[in-house]
Symmetry: D2
Subunit: 328 residues, 4 copies
Amino acid sequence: MTKAVIQNDDCCGAGTGYTGPAEELSTSEADLDALFEKVCNWGRWGDDDERGTLNHIGPDEVAHAATLVTVGRTVSMSRGFPTVPSIENPRPAQHYMVVTGEDRQAPHIAGMECTSDYIGLAFHGLACSHIDALCHTFHRGRMYNGRPASDVKSRGAVANTIMAIKDGIVGRGVLLDMPRALGVDFIEPSHLVTSGELEIAERELGVTLRKGDILAVRMGRDVRPGRGDGRMAGLHPFVAGWLHDRNVAVICGDGPNDANPAGVLSAWPYPVHDLCVAGMGIPLVDNLYLEGVAATCAELNRWAFQIVIAPLLIEGGTGSPVNPIAIF
Amino acid sequence: MTKAVIQNDDCCGAGTGYTGPAEELSTSEADLDALFEKVCNWGRWGDDDERGTLNHIGPDEVAHAATLVTVGRTVSMSRGFPTVPSIENPRPAQHYMVVTGEDRQAPHIAGMECTSDYIGLAFHGLACSHIDALCHTFHRGRMYNGRPASDVKSRGAVANTIMAIKDGIVGRGVLLDMPRALGVDFIEPSHLVTSGELEIAERELGVTLRKGDILAVRMGRDVRPGRGDGRMAGLHPFVAGWLHDRNVAVICGDGPNDANPAGVLSAWPYPVHDLCVAGMGIPLVDNLYLEGVAATCAELNRWAFQIVIAPLLIEGGTGSPVNPIAIF
Amino acid sequence: MTKAVIQNDDCCGAGTGYTGPAEELSTSEADLDALFEKVCNWGRWGDDDERGTLNHIGPDEVAHAATLVTVGRTVSMSRGFPTVPSIENPRPAQHYMVVTGEDRQAPHIAGMECTSDYIGLAFHGLACSHIDALCHTFHRGRMYNGRPASDVKSRGAVANTIMAIKDGIVGRGVLLDMPRALGVDFIEPSHLVTSGELEIAERELGVTLRKGDILAVRMGRDVRPGRGDGRMAGLHPFVAGWLHDRNVAVICGDGPNDANPAGVLSAWPYPVHDLCVAGMGIPLVDNLYLEGVAATCAELNRWAFQIVIAPLLIEGGTGSPVNPIAIF
Amino acid sequence: MTKAVIQNDDCCGAGTGYTGPAEELSTSEADLDALFEKVCNWGRWGDDDERGTLNHIGPDEVAHAATLVTVGRTVSMSRGFPTVPSIENPRPAQHYMVVTGEDRQAPHIAGMECTSDYIGLAFHGLACSHIDALCHTFHRGRMYNGRPASDVKSRGAVANTIMAIKDGIVGRGVLLDMPRALGVDFIEPSHLVTSGELEIAERELGVTLRKGDILAVRMGRDVRPGRGDGRMAGLHPFVAGWLHDRNVAVICGDGPNDANPAGVLSAWPYPVHDLCVAGMGIPLVDNLYLEGVAATCAELNRWAFQIVIAPLLIEGGTGSPVNPIAIF
């Protein structure tokens, strides 16, 4: 592999970014069509299935993951509730108090003193840590298991909703900290991480992905100079084939897993969403904050842990805000 | 103990309800003042502490809890997102689609097809599964660790917020299924469960609470004939002393943990909130759906499990909706 | 006409209700189909038209209406912001403070002291005073001027939106106070007011509807014993033909103009919405509070006034909350 | 008067801006204290009064205003519903469909076909056309008529709310189109318009303000090159004295009436809000879109018209979004 390291010195700080080899792996529509065909899991777990690759996580995987808890430490993998607007947050969340401390006397209940608040949130996009249900993304009008886009109605989706994940996702989390593995500070937004690079990370970090794993890929979004400009590194679409071979269950990232803006070196705008969510039925967990978990992994020099992802039970929902917890 | 079992035959179905002994344990203001004094943890973990009884959960407790995962099964302990108004849900949640399947073409991104939705939620009250931060409840104008109510401002609380729990609560969950232990179908709303009854449940179910445990008390809210009428069984205020002695870390219930309507047999309207949240610094987890976890416990004949509670990272927030996951 | 007056003595008070003649005017599907054909204004003002019967209000009508202002008095015709849930308000509105008085210091602006609030509202239904845009209602999949239902997308409607009314509706308001005209306290919910009864009201009150008028029909919703139970009087579907002949521009009511629950004596569930909004292109203004304006009309013994209806400029919106102002 | 005209050639276009005379009228704290004392209307209309300068609009003013309707034309003075975030809109509004056309079949009502939507809005700030209630602004902890800031609680204000204006504001609107009167395209954001300049506009446009008038001051916000950058021209604080002498009832602007950012040439950050809302009890109407009404005024060569401002009836509210209608 040829490393191409650049120096970034813009106003927001400096750091070493990774841009990948000189010869880029651009993809044609034919390449992606063939890959979609190869990785497509429609029908694999029955015509009624709504869980996709979560089928890779069975009782053994759940039980094994718990054995990874040794030092008894927990780490949030979530960003803060995104109330501040920005180019990455065009629909900032609402957080308003219903009752403040000054106003704490409950009406009609003498002596009761309490406060409460209200939250409002359009959780998809680039700002909120959230999980995509399998009804979030379509491939030419079809979502996972071949269901039509028209199943996602204004009163809520009728299939592939977040309710298919209501009992949570519990399993082995594996963090591939790409900047650490590649000897840089962050991955440049212009770069699409390849399966070759993921394998370098496996070797460098000493961890190997296996069936049912919940993969978290750290790009260094939160330490990149220029962060907050809406540009983000993503996975190369060919990674979908590799994930398929490895039987990975879930993909998590500090960004949207696809590069942003859309369409970098690819014939499709968000090919990872297309191939993984619609084709393979992998739930994506987007926009995590991975600095804390990366520091803990580095400190403990281990890159696997128990992970628990607990979505809200939103009937008809296309996903949920989540705070995944890594347990060491 | 004298059991007083009544037969309930109203329109919504029938079942055997538990009303407790004939002589009720009513409480005077002096009783409760003395108890507050006894259980008050203000200053116990330092003047800056915002975690209260979560201090009972250390690395050992986290690590031990993971050893309870044996069969590799996960169960949600949450109700559905509460969009339907009722006497128990006067502030129904909003769930609206931002983009439906028919409208799936992303603007300005040719070929991108996806859906998204919006949620709005005032999560306190009786309808939503949520956790109370320690700034949710006051005792005579003071919250946990003596902080003033005025710290909960319209722009958000400045202390004792949900952010103190951002890394989640992970530990040993213990379900005390009171109807099962007492040989009835549900606890009558007029009854306040006593520490004596909780000890019966420990004996009957074969589990003993210990330091750092996350206690879930099932009252049978969801199987009671008449459910949905706003009436709910709660814990007797004297239970606070017992929880204090046992060093319990968190209390979860299928209702609000206090009886509803407020003021049943007690000089204070919501004494459990007052004593536990404000005094002891115990986070309450209200309005869980415990039927699934109770069935699993019964099937496996074990009443302890790993539990993970992962709040959203709401800066300044008085709590969070949660979907606690029980892992067996 | 045979009057059938009943005495209502329920828990909420008592009053004399009007039920109409013994022989009711039930309607068949064929009747309504024929009527739709007769009153349909599709194409009447050009294929591009989005204003429907607002075309009846020209400069002369606006100018004339202003001459009705003689005593210089203004009266709101709106209900309060509907935050309280009920059977008539299953989607209660949100009203939360963003900044309270205690928290009034503006961040980063020394000396600035102010408060603000947030409102959230799903304005259609039975609780909120609002105007329907012409994209609110369809007749067999088509809205006014023959446009397809699919034009109302999740990102907003692309035709017949409230933006067609952005400059407001200003004209002659005429109040037909039906209980007053018929000598009762209120119209029974089971009754559909006929054109014959509207003509009685014209005669009794001494006012005659003409081209471009903004008709408000008072049923006495807010004085009926039993009010709040979701039952409401409405207009008989045949009234559509009469309104068509009179060239009325807008219909306002203290309820939804159609009877509720749907389908009283009619082959179609909400025939007035169907015939008027979809067919004729008449904007409906629902759920007004007409007690104040009725009292003023009675006091001044005149039933015409200038009226101003000013919707919010919601791009893509299906209507708007409004506070119509009657000016005498 | 010395005109100081500059040429602005930035990226967004070009135009002639007005910056006022070279010697600026900066204000000291003592000046403003003295002015506040002079214009303060606390107690003027009784200790219970919540309407402030709306008391200047009596029946005669309402009736006279209607005589200004001659050509029968209506013009909206509102901006669009502000869903798009920007530096001027950090809390973009929510607009979501509840039911789209594709999903139009009403549940449980066979044959009913309709759509609906949801709006959410924090209307204060720089983006939304809205009216300030008199509880929106404080002067050293006191609002109009001396009421304490603590009256604006988290459950809503208890005095000086928008409900004091529920019957709408109807009267004579006067547009002072400052750029037109001063022979420029727009007023520079760095400039505070003086009473001298307002009097120039009166003379140039041929209109004289009088008791009870609803004054709209056009700064040219929407035609300024660089618009959207958050900078806005405002009124000079000394204008408060002039408005007081003229007995003006309401002030409307295309911006927030005070200059933005706060504190231009003034010892107080938003002196117009302080002096007018808190001291005089003048409701401000902020962020109007005045291009349409200015064009109509110019076309008809008249600068007075009937105006109707109809707030929503928000119990406890600090203001309301409005669409003021100018009627010619």
